[in-house]
């Protein structure tokens, strides 16, 4: 379970690519992996790529939002990238706009965003 979702280091940031279903055990393990890695690396940013997800229901949306919140508590800013058009449309139609989570078009944009944020903080 731990390690099912790979987390890569990209400079001072982390990149997690969610390519499998975020079911209970997987979600829990993912969150633990993320937090442990932030602690170990001192990463200031976390990019979560969900371009592989065809369906994001409120459960998955909540897992993603919670992960961002947890990362923030540990000093890392999160950015969600790659959401598919039909996933975005569905979430919004349900009434779930994930307001608290920052988004970017792709990994490059996310890293630019995170770098700018880090620079501003300095």
């Amino acid at each position: 379970m731990r390690g099912s979702i790979p987390i890569l280091r990209v400079g001072g940031n982390l990149l997690a690519t969610v390519h499998i279903e975020l079911r209970d055990k997987v979600a829990e393990a993912f969150q633990e992996d993320v937090l442990e890695t932030i602690e170990k690396t001192g990463a200031a940013g976390l990019v979560v790529d969900i371009s592989g997800l065809e369906v994001v229901d409120t459960y998955v949306a909540r897992v993603l939002a919670d992960t961002a919140r947890m990362a923030k508590l540990m000093g890392a800013r999160s950015v969600l990238v790659g959401m598919r058009p039909e996933v975005a449309a569905t979430l919004v139609r349900m009434g779930y706009a994930m307001d608290g989570v920052a988004t970017a078009l792709n990994v490059d944009e996310a890293l630019i965003l995170l770098t700018a944020a880090t620079e501003r903080r300095i």
């Binding site: 279903e21 065809e54 409120t58 459960y59 039909e86 139609r93 349900m94 009434g95 307001d99």
Partner: protein, 156 residues
């Protein structure tokens, strides 16, 4: 976020096929563990895709399926879902009927209004699902379980 609740006014009804609708296939699947959330969803997805549902309608249907299957598992522990393929002569439709013998919902109206949750996941999933489909009905009484019916039609 000021999103209008219940904006799919047409998404009530009784979730039953109308006279003149033809049932093309019928299948029942058990809901007994978390894996079933994905299994049921995949079944509904492949069925709908074969019937020509467009990407957006497909996402809406599979997401609603995921929500409701999870609801059954989380709140009742077990249940089942009836999956029917319909046609009204012009379009194809998928009809789902989720049944469980769980604790039931105390205040159905409030649950459907959204944002209300007895347990973590219930609130938005139920009202959200209703907004994603064309026909939706919810029957529940504390102590006698819950039945959720929905129909989604192909568009255009």
């Amino acid at each position: 976020m000021a999103l209008e609740a219940g904006d799919r006014a047409s998404s009530t009804g009784d979730g039953e096929a109308k006279r003149g609708d033809q049932v093309l296939s019928r299948a029942e699947m058990p809901i007994a563990c978390e894996d079933d959330v994905v299994i049921v969803r995949r079944k509904v997805r492949s069925l709908a895709q074969a019937r020509g549902f467009d990407t957006f309608a497909l996402a809406a249907l599979t997401t609603a399926t995921s929500e409701l299957t999870r609801n059954v598992w989380v709140h009742a522990g077990r249940g089942r879902v009836l999956i029917e393929e319909l046609t009204d002569g012009q379009r194809f439709g998928v009809r789902l009927e989720f049944r469980d013998e769980g604790p039931g919902i105390e205040d159905v109206d409030r649950a459907l209004a959204g944002g209300f949750s007895t347990a973590k996941t219930m609130g938005l999933g139920l009202s959200g699902s209703r907004r994603l489909v064309d026909d939706f009905s919810l029957e529940s009484k504390p102590g006698s379980g819950t039945v959720v019916r929905l129909i989604k039609w192909t568009r255009y």
